[in-house]
């Protein structure tokens, strides 16, 4: 058996990588939500001075990485690898940001699970001794996602109540070896693709909930830990409906964790006041909630242990047209503010 893998899906780090800095950039709507105070930059205009939403999204990624480097007192040249992904076809936002950043680049796609995917691989690079500094980043943009996946905004289509609102935002986190200060990544649990046969692309919370549950169960089975040890187990973007389904499925599966199970998509918007229906979604959702809110509270030791479980619906417009159901995935990253001596 491998040195550091425990159980079937989990890696336990012997020298947990440190997250030395993070940056979160969000759009105007996210800046009016309940987590407003935690974000580093709130855009006044979601075009961010660019002439398209896609370019604005790419600029958010680039600026988030630059600011995270600055906050970590690093030059861009100090960063060994960039792990990045987004929702746009061919990762337009990540690829163009990578062009301008000039770092060795691994492009990732895990739909809205990409933040945990990038954090997982970045942590593996660090703990394996392959790099001194790695940046993990993801983004999404409401308008670029609507244009690509749904209808022209100008049509004014009515959104069903199960639908979610793609977060405009980018988060970037810089990882380094354990000798640096915390928070630290102690474990990563890599998800399998789970598909319960949901076919409604306007109800992705329901499609993704079983994947989140599968990965959460794998994490606790593999580590032998108890959910009670965690201040927070937070899924990526199940939204309100997906969150309720996940709580039910966990209870049925003998792992009742309704108290501490929250969701980035639920936290980021005030659903009634902001009319976002089931909640936020998009790669940027768990990215900015982690890089903004969670990281800061971990750093201040208000949260001691957090399990971030970013969730992704791996459908494509083509797969839906061909009658396929929605395969989903969730990756988990366990983070602790301080390590025991």
């Amino acid at each position: 058996m491998a040195r550091k893998k425990i159980g079937k899906q989990t890696i336990e780090f012997i020298d947990p990588p440190s997250i030395i800095s993070t940056t979160s950039i969000v759009g105007p709507k996210e800046g009016q939500g309940p987590l407003s105070q935690y974000f580093d930059i709130i855009l006044e205009d979601d075009l961010y001075g660019e002439d398209s939403w896609e370019k604005a999204e790419s600029k958010m990624v680039k600026e988030a990485v630059k600011l995270a480097a600055m906050q970590g007192r690093l030059h861009l040249e100090d960063i060994d690898y960039l792990f990045a992904g987004d929702l746009l076809n061919q990762l337009m936002s990540s690829s163009f940001a990578a062009r301008d950043l000039g770092m060795p680049y691994f492009g990732l796609f895990g739909a809205c699970s990409t933040m945990a995917e990038s954090l997982s691989l970045a942590a593996i690079m660090i703990e394996g001794g392959f790099a001194d500094y790695v940046v993990a980043t993801t983004s999404s943009h409401f308008s670029s996602a609507e244009r690509q996946f749904r209808f022209p905004l100008e049509l004014g289509n009515q959104r069903p109540l199960t639908s979610q609102w793609t977060v405009t935002g980018a988060g970037a986190a810089i990882l380094a070896p354990m000798r640096n200060k915390g928070p630290y990544i102690t474990h990563v649990t890599t998800g399998k693709v789970i598909d319960y046969g949901i076919t409604d692309p306007n109800n992705m919370g329901a499609a993704m909930a079983p994947a989140a549950v599968d990965t959460i169960k794998a994490y606790f089975e593999d580590t032998g830990r108890s959910p009670d040890e965690f201040d927070l187990i937070i899924t990526g973007d199940l939204g309100k409906i997906g969150n309720e389904i996940a709580i039910d499925l966990l209870k049925q599966g003998g792992l009742p964790i309704n108290k501490t199970l929250r969701d980035c998509g639920v936290e980021i918007f005030d659903h009634v006041r902001q009319d976002t229906h089931a909640g936020g979604s998009g790669c940027g959702c768990s990215a900015v909630v982690f890089c903004g809110y969670l990281y800061k509270l971990l750093k201040e030791n208000i949260f001691r242990k957090v399990l971030l479980v970013s969730t992704g619906a791996l459908l494509s417009p083509t797969s839906i047209q061909q009658g396929e159901s929605i395969p989903s995935i969730a990756h988990a990253v366990a983070i602790e503010g301080k390590l025991k001596d």
Copy 2:
């Protein structure tokens, strides 16, 4: 500095991971090309018994992984991680294959550079001690790529002579620790995004050539090795025109390696007889040429050292419509048939 990283972009493995088995599956046209004898499965019909090209492509991935596991005398459950990616939006072919394979899954996107990207990350997982068996796989399909990126085939558009022909095929390679037999991955060099301002999506060889050259130069600078040590330096899918540009650029850059610099896209088709213009392309191109042809000749010690440099054009239809040039990337993987005692 990190333990195993040398130079700016290269990791030198202390215990080079072994590639214990590979499988290549190709379409009928590839099966009529010059490398025909090296492929494990040649499809008679590129629908592969499915009702869409996308599903056929996904089936190729699934079957390639299954067969590679069988050839490695492994059950699918023995494989710790699946690294996969393809050209389709939202990685339809990889994601649906991952659903059926049931392994912890990292989705990757590096356009046609994805085979080297997946081999790189798989090798890092193995050498870092995080896994016993990892599978790296990528695919492409002529018809699914044409449908997504270009025109309906039924239109019969005329193809310019600079255009390339997307390979129908999937390759899968299973990696394990060095205690197993070779071939071995000795180094990985991770590419940066390079963009020389080419804007013609029908001339991707020209767009990608500078990225290939940048990564090849980085490999030799980082390792201090000489191109003469290699039997073959083989790019992913520059095609004939891109290959000539790469040879010129290398010569200008003081690294003349015209004799050993070949290209998977040039090798896979007989361009005159098969009317494929500048050559093959697609994630599947370097995947099947590596998993079929190169792996077998490395195993038989006919090739002793090969540098595989998969190349990707990171454009999207949206980025082209928005007037952007074509950012490109190349990742290199150095493979040796036997290690010195």
